[in-house]
Symmetry: C2
Subunit: 235 residues, 2 copies
DNA sequence: ACAAAAGCAAGAGCGCCGCTCTCGTTATGG
DNA sequence: CCATAACGAGAGCGGCGCTCTTGCTTTTGT
């Protein structure tokens, strides 16, 4: 307590951050499956066993990267939500989607971490769930505030079939009691479809057929908004 | 030539198949990143080096599994295409999508192989591309034949913006000269969105909120069809 | 102020991995 | 029949995740 408070703690934070940074670099270069603690340690000038003072296992290091990625994309989505004009929910919706896409295009490997193949037997810790919910929440918020302002059209979706209605009813009760269930169902599907669109672009699964993927995405996502009950701008 | 023709070749085919089967089992159990040649060889009662007579590297074994997976889902989609009633393209479209979903739900790890995180620096061999095109082709065929039969409505999509139009025009010219570009663009987006919907279910990314994912999928995919210009059955 | 406790880096080592090379053995085809 | 090619087995190399032990330094409690 005599010296600066927690010189050791600060050093620990810095080393932890350096490890994650280097790990991110290696994931980008070699892919998550080939992330090697020894290589990270080597690059940082430490011995591999020292790394276990900061992360109890390789999987825990990867989990930390995953949580960071969820938070990064969640933050981007929430920033777009805050910046989007509440009086034009269609544009706001598209803005949130675009924020997700732009983040994914800029950080393809981080996107892969959170939307790639899951590892069998790997249960995401609850911390991951908290971070993972931010993007769909942002989409939901666009719908909720549009509904509150009377700007949400009746979605083109018919009422969902019975077993789905029950699922959605439970979700609506928990997260958005005032929202029509059909709109909630649309948001849920839109979230999955948004990830599909982004993933195809980021993972290059269109087979190089698109030279203007950003515009294509924008176009597709505008339709997604319309499906959820957000018509194009009034004027 | 004195003995049965190619006893050796047949043995080779059988061993190759056995290796792939065991590898598939291990991918299902442990995940693709942890697929170990040594473990496969051990389970098959051979020594690890013998395996290299059949696959030049671990990545080549994985690639073989990927191609097989593409062919399996492609075959499922084409079977659904053949079975779907041409006079009801909406039902046919939903049928193809359902075939993809059912296959993915039954073979989640194979789905992960083809739609999971790509490995940096890994270029899919051309054989993969050939197999990977079968599902989108099936979707496209539904649209083309519906159009030929006068059953394709003008898609709700407006005309795509300029740079997209050029991309789509090139694709239309190559694959479906008679199809309206807007319909082709819708099919392309629908493909990505379909994979998003399937991936969310298979990878359990809805967070356990859906107890009836099959019905939810059906519902969502019906809307996808409508967007592409295939209205619900006339009845 | 000082001893106990806790945090830390380093090294050695275990078992597993992908992959290579060599060496007998066996089937193939001219 | 015999040269050749395919094959299975074994040893071995470097790299991996992870553990354990050994000293050293910072923090903490009295």
């Amino acid at each position: 307590m005599s010296t600066i408070q927690g010189a050791r703690e600060r050093a620990r934070r810095e080393v932890t951050a350096a490890i994650k940074d280097e790990a991110r670099r290696r994931v980008a270069a070699e892919g998550a499956p080939k992330l090697s603690l020894r290589a990270v340690a080597r690059e940082l000038g430490m011995v591999s066993s020292a790394l276990y003072r900061y992360f109890p296992s390789r999987d825990d290091l990867l989990t930390a990267l995953i949580v960071d990625a969820y938070d990064a994309v969640g933050e981007a989505a929430e920033a777009a939500l805050a910046a989007g004009p509440r009086q034009d929910p269609h544009a706001r919706w598209v803005g949130v989607c675009r924020a997700v896409r732009d983040w994914a295009v800029a950080s393809p490997h981080e996107f892969g971490l959170i939307h790639g193949t899951p590892i069998p037997g790997y249960a995401a810790p609850s911390e991951t769930e908290r971070a993972g919910i931010r993007v769909p929440f942002a989409l939901l918020t666009v719908l909720r505030e549009a509904h509150a302002d009377g700007l949400l059209e009746r979605p083109a979706w018919g009422e969902p079939p019975e077993p789905v209605r029950a699922d959605v009813a439970a979700l609506v009760a928990e997260y958005a009691p005032e929202l029509p269930p059909a709109a909630f169902a649309a948001a849920l599907a839109a979230w999955a479809q948004l990830v599909g669109l982004v993933g195809f672009e980021v993972f290059d699964q269109y087979g190089g057929a698109l030279t203007a993927p950003a515009e294509f995405f924008e176009h597709a996502v505008g339709r997604l908004a319309a499906e959820a009950g957000l018509g194009p701008a009034a004027s």
